[in-house]
Subunit: 457 residues, 2 copies
């Protein structure tokens, strides 16, 4: 990706949103516990997509006459002493292929010259963006969200949804780091170690590659809590350890991988059986992934494979199709099969359901299906995750059991034996091709045999 790539992306955006100005705001440094103590800076993904500029405090304005103005903050003596002399606004603009560079302090005047009402902008996801937009557009903070441009959202969703070869290569690069992170985690995961020790080894491996993580990693023997970000438990021989984590590529594309490790080094019989159900579902989804399917259809491929597998284990019963249509499987598989992946782990999630749902189609409110982020017809160039799971969440089991919910499909008496099982999720990243799908990355051990081989010490 060079300045030509960014220029072409902007030209296409300009063609698709021909009228008015287009404002893309870069992010500022996010304060942790006081202003001068920031979290590691991560640029806004849209700003990265259209400029490649990863430094804080920048903005891009496309004017209706085809002009482009890049705004940034020039350095001063304090910058020199504290941060080192960085690139000038003109140098940053040149890297993005933008001819005009100005100081960020001139952005309000440039917006005013266009007329704030004629400026397309994206919905903010951080309060500092909201306040900045309110100032620039001279509207109240509460009016900012409603004024975001639907035309701009649609155009960007269209562009960013289809990854080119360079973008796919970035995701595969991030997956290479994921593979190294997994090896570090597997080496650290032994009985008596804490989740934190495994997390430290895994995250240290990403940092050693000078990569930030794409998400807060999940490193948990309580994998049934889907986004469990605490690391306080000590690993025991009978535990399953769930790792859901990602790294960023040099250009900030994400990987997103989930693996489950038997802490003992070998799966016991029950673990092996549930693991196989999830693996069957994951492979069935991969086999069905193509431009001929919608992602909702893939979700149901997973749901039915899981329901059939759990039926064979005596945990579910009755007709599989009916059970899935009723949502009974969601007791065990309460989330969606996957989501778009790109510059964001949940790619473009800040743009809302325009990303995952065809216009005019609303999300289901059914438990489980409500968390399906992507339901659209798949297209060549989509990069998505394939991540089914089976979980035994005791409070949820108790709640459903007390109501006898879907009792003709769920064998509550058998489930009692699985109360302390935890959860299994297996996740890979895939590319939709012209006639099917390709598994991305170097391959990370996934079958029980591969995992047990890796864990042999």
């Amino acid at each position: 990706m060079d300045s030509k790539t960014y220029r072409e992306r902007r030209e296409r955006l300009r063609r698709e949103v021909p009228d008015g100005g287009i404002l893309l705001l870069g992010l500022g440094e996010p304060p942790r516990n006081y202003a001068a103590n920031p979290y590691p800076f991560r640029q806004d993904s849209h700003f990265l997509y259209f400029t490649g500029v990863a430094r804080p405090d920048a903005a891009l304005l496309l004017t209706p006459d085809g002009g482009e103005i890049f705004f940034a903050v020039p350095g001063d003596l304090d910058t020199l002493v504290w941060s080192g002399a960085g690139p000038s606004p003109a140098e940053l603009a040149a890297g993005a292929g933008v001819a005009q560079a100005r100081e960020l302090s001139q952005l309000p005047a440039a917006i005013a010259a266009l007329g704030a009402a004629a400026v397309h902008y994206l919905p903010p996801y951080r309060a500092d963006q909201t306040m900045r937009l309110a100032e620039l557009l001279e509207i109240t903070p509460t009016a900012v969200g409603a004024g975001a441009s639907r035309a701009l959202i649609r155009a960007i969703v269209g562009q960013r949804s289809i990854k080119d070869a360079d973008e796919v290569a970035e995701i595969e690069d991030a997956l290479g780091v994921s593979a190294a992170m997994f090896r570090a985690a597997a080496a650290a995961a032994r009985p008596g170690k804490t989740e934190a020790e495994v997390a430290g080894a895994m995250q240290g491996a990403a940092l050693a590659h000078d990569r930030q993580q794409a998400l807060l990693p999940i490193v948990s023997v309580r994998g049934e809590v889907l986004h469990n970000n605490s690391y306080g438990n000590t690993l025991k021989a009978g535990d399953l350890l769930l790792l859901d984590y990602g790294a960023e590529s040099p250009r900030f594309y994400a990987s997103d991988i989930t693996r489950v490790i038997p802490v003992a080094g070998r799966f016991d019989e029950r673990q092996r059986a549930i693991y196989q159900v999830v693996l069957d579902a994951q492979l069935a989804v991969f086999a069905a992934a193509s431009p001929h399917a919608t992602n909702r259809e893939l979700h149901f491929v997973a749901a039915k494979t899981i329901a059939a597998g759990l039926k064979s284990l005596g945990l579910m019963r009755g007709d599989v199709d009916e059970a899935v249509a009723a949502g009974a499987h969601a007791l065990f598989f309460p989330h969606g099969i996957g989501h778009m992946l790109g510059l964001d782990v949940h790619d473009m999630e800040d743009l809302g359901d325009a990303v995952g749902y065809p216009e005019g189609e609303a999300r289901s409110t059914q438990f489980g299906l409500a968390f399906l982020r992507l339901a659209k017809p798949l297209e060549p160039g989509f990069t998505i995750t394939d991540e089914p799971g089976v979980y035994f969440n005791p409070p949820l089991l108790d709640m459903w059991a007390a109501e006898k919910r879907h009792a003709h499909f769920i064998n509550y008496s058998e489930i009692r034996h699985y109360r302390r099982f935890g959860g299994v999720r297996i996740e890979d990243d895939i590319l939709i091709t012209a006639d099917g799908a390709r598994m991305l990355g170097p391959g990370i051990p996934k079958t029980p045999a591969e995992l047990e081989e890796l864990l042999r010490r």
Copy 2:
């Protein structure tokens, strides 16, 4: 620290700010590149100090009649599935020793009942706090900063500045993790490795202890750039590697340590000489630290020791006292000698100069002295950093040399030989006692002999 501690702290605060309501807002989760992808959560330090509650989305309101109301968000079905069932508002309140608990959604009504004008609040450092306060107090976001309570700021600075034994123990606990981080870094720092590999080893060690870092670490062979947070360089045998980093304790108190490692395993002659100048300054400051001194005086102890040392090496000349009074030493030592340390690395920096300067006394604008964050008389119970440094920043050297600035004190022709030297800073954390000072923590190798012994392979 238990609920009694927090209750006593609030009772003292209430006595010192007797009129009106006192609102302390906990922080929300900070979004990274979209709302559902947050940075690791860190609670606001004032909220931690007065409640101990480290979970997001909480608030505390002290009413003028001595009442206390704790606000938090109760869990729902989604919380159960995604994050696990957490403590209820009542359980969180009980941990903080607060009798009354309500849902956070009831905070606006509680504020309105008091009358927003009668509510003391602290100045915000994040935009989400600003927007929240504007909504709660029914004022514009731009009016929020000016309305912050000076009485509340003064009272909290008074309380938090003096650490009790439990707080000192927390800082020392964090220093224990710092020691482990330093060992990991020293083991990784060899010629041919990257700064990122050292940073990964060091940060991985903190994470393995389930600790967040108190600041973005500096791991740089270009230590002359004071807050250099890039990790792209490869270590060479002649380099000095500067590490400035900190960990948090279980109750979120910070450590802040700087060490410099000769990548070759041994200092060369010039490195050893400059290192010794900085070490002499650091030890002179420690020897002078007591309730009988101001921190500005400690700053000048460091400045004079550095100027005298650099004079003995032929880099400065003339009268040392005159050189320091003129600010000539700041070419090499452009920052302050240290700052308060506690729940924040720069403790209470969000409260402004009330923390470090006596009322009515303004910071100097002289280059170097302008960065002295703490100038006050020291008091028993202060925990502060002692961190002198000597740097050779080529663009800064060129700028001063071109102007012949302070040429009667600075030997510019000799400095040319140090252009690629980099920088040395040595930092420890100290407690002011009744009649002197105590070095905190387990001790981390610091003398050239100790460092070379550690690096022997």
